[in-house]
Amino acid sequence: MTDVSSPPPPPTGAPVDLGHLTQAYSASGPPMVEAFGVTKAFGDVIAVSDVSFRIGSGITAILGPNGAGKSTLFRILCGLTPPSKGRVEVLGRDARRDRDVRGRIGLAPQQDAMFDRLSAFEFVEYAALTNGVDSAETRARAALDYVEISADDPKRVGAFSKGMRQRVKLAAALVHDPEILVLDEPLTGLDPVQRSRMIELFNDLAGQDKCLLVSSHVLDEVARLGSNVLVIAQGRLAAAGDYHALRDMMDDRPHRIRIETDQPRRLAAAIIERDLAKGVSVENEEITLDTTDVDRFGRAIAPLAVELTAHLGSVAPLDDDLESVFRYLVEGR
């Protein structure tokens, strides 16, 4: 492969500040969840690396690819596992050591495991009872009603579909009216209608001054969850702030494109000459290039090929997915 020009400069290693979130917190009150330099290592593997943030009420989406460290971060927040370094405070306390604060957290874990021999009502009522709720039966019925599952359905949760199990887990997480709701990939396995309904519920809960932490690896889901986002990639906090700023950055970042043509060298030289792209390389009958202005490049490439009497086999983006966004945020490539 021949390098024709240098690639675009990478972003710095520090988290990209997309707005207000890392600097301040909800206007409605003090921070509800705070992480101070949290690191978690499993042997030689660093699952979470030096993550700090403060979160207030409302929805905060934790966005990151699978294996990025989102679930580990959630487990640390809930006290399920201690950090190797740093500390976490939930409502000013450590959930691992403080018994009472655990009753103010509702967790819907990512794993599918539930007490499969119980019905949905029994499962949610059990969550209420073990959280010390007085009117457990009434609250369980209300929570199941909230997620649109019949409390009178005698079927065991082990026989439920993935979507129904997700909703039962949500009902169990909120049955004791916690101030903090930690929802790990809650939209996985839901059909589009169920997703919409679930997102409505999240927004409704956020309107009750609760702090919702919702993880996802799907950018479009995050778009519908609200404006606050923490991007986790390779265990690091890659970006934090406003979703729309993230979206803009995605559009502005260099896009890698591959072109198949019968005259790759002539076409590559013309692209550089007209400043349509950087990082142009040629191999056999393919050109690979980076551009920060996809629209301009798209408008220009076909007329340029006609002008050069070059045949365009294909023009395809190589990195138009979320993984490449994370890669760009973390590694600058």
Partner: protein, 246 residues
């Protein structure tokens, strides 16, 4: 809305839930089959007319089959699974992330295992003792030894379930190697195996010397397993408090 759960309430809640989780048809049938084995052997002793000392033969059979196999294995299957299964399948989080102390969770799990194991051991062993037809003494000795055995083995295996994955495999290794072999070495090593105490109860109550193993008095053979039970439950609660939950 949420409030701390009292220890007694927590014990009741965990006990009730785990009883339902533990009672699967497969487990019960398999373990009943194991108990029936003892009944068949007892029946063959009763019907045999070639034994010199039917009482001694019956006690030895109960020692080997009942208290080396049936009691520890039944306790292992239920107590090992009580929190071990939850730990391995990821449902332990639903007991852990609650405003409850750790020790009531452990005690509730232990009581659930005991509640299921006791009827599955005491009843078949009692029936087998009656089938053997060597007097009421064997029935009483068997029931007492089974009760002590279930209590202490259940506590040890609840702890094992929290310490190790695949606790059933480790537990069977422990039963066969430690309880099965070590207990036969006598004196100090014999006292380090729980089987030695159930055996002592059986031998003392029946006034039979089982190869020099009736060294521990019946009172000690009851008291020491109770101490072991308390220590095992204490360690299990400490383990639950410090372990990482998936």
């Amino acid at each position: 809305m949420s409030a701390s759960v009292s220890p007694l309430r927590a014990i009741g809640l965990v006990h009730g839930l785990l009883i339902r989780q533990l009672l699967t048809r497969g487990r019960i049938l398999a373990l009943l089959a194991l108990s029936v084995l003892l009944g068949v052997v007892s029946l063959s002793v009763r019907l045999s007319d070639t034994l010199e000392n039917p009482l001694r033969s019956s006690v030895e059979i109960f020692d080997v089959v009942g208290f080396t196999l049936v009691v520890p294995i039944v306790a292992l299957v239920f107590a090992g699974a009580a929190l071990g299964d939850s730990r391995e399948d990821g449902t332990l989080v639903y007991l852990w992330l609650r405003p409850m102390d750790r020790w009531p969770v452990v005690v509730g799990a232990w009581l659930a295992a005991v509640s299921v194991s006791l009827p599955l051991t005491v009843v078949p062993l009692g029936i087998s003792a009656m089938i053997a037809g060597v007097g009421e003494g064997l029935l009483m000795a068997t029931v007492l030894a089974a009760l002590v055995g279930v209590l202490v083995y259940s506590a040890v295996f609840v702890l094992l379930g929290l310490l190790l994955k695949n606790s059933i495999i480790w537990g069977i290794g422990y039963i066969l190697i430690w309880e099965g072999l070590i207990a036969q070495f006598g004196s100090a090593l014999g006292k380090a195996a729980l089987r030695g105490y159930t055996r002592s109860i059986l031998a003392n109550r029946m006034d039979i010397d089982l190869d020099g193993f009736s060294e521990v008095s019946t009172a000690s053979a009851v008291a020491i397993p109770i101490v072991v039970t308390i220590v095992a439950l204490f360690l299990a609660a400490a383990r639950l408090r410090t372990m990482e939950i998936d």
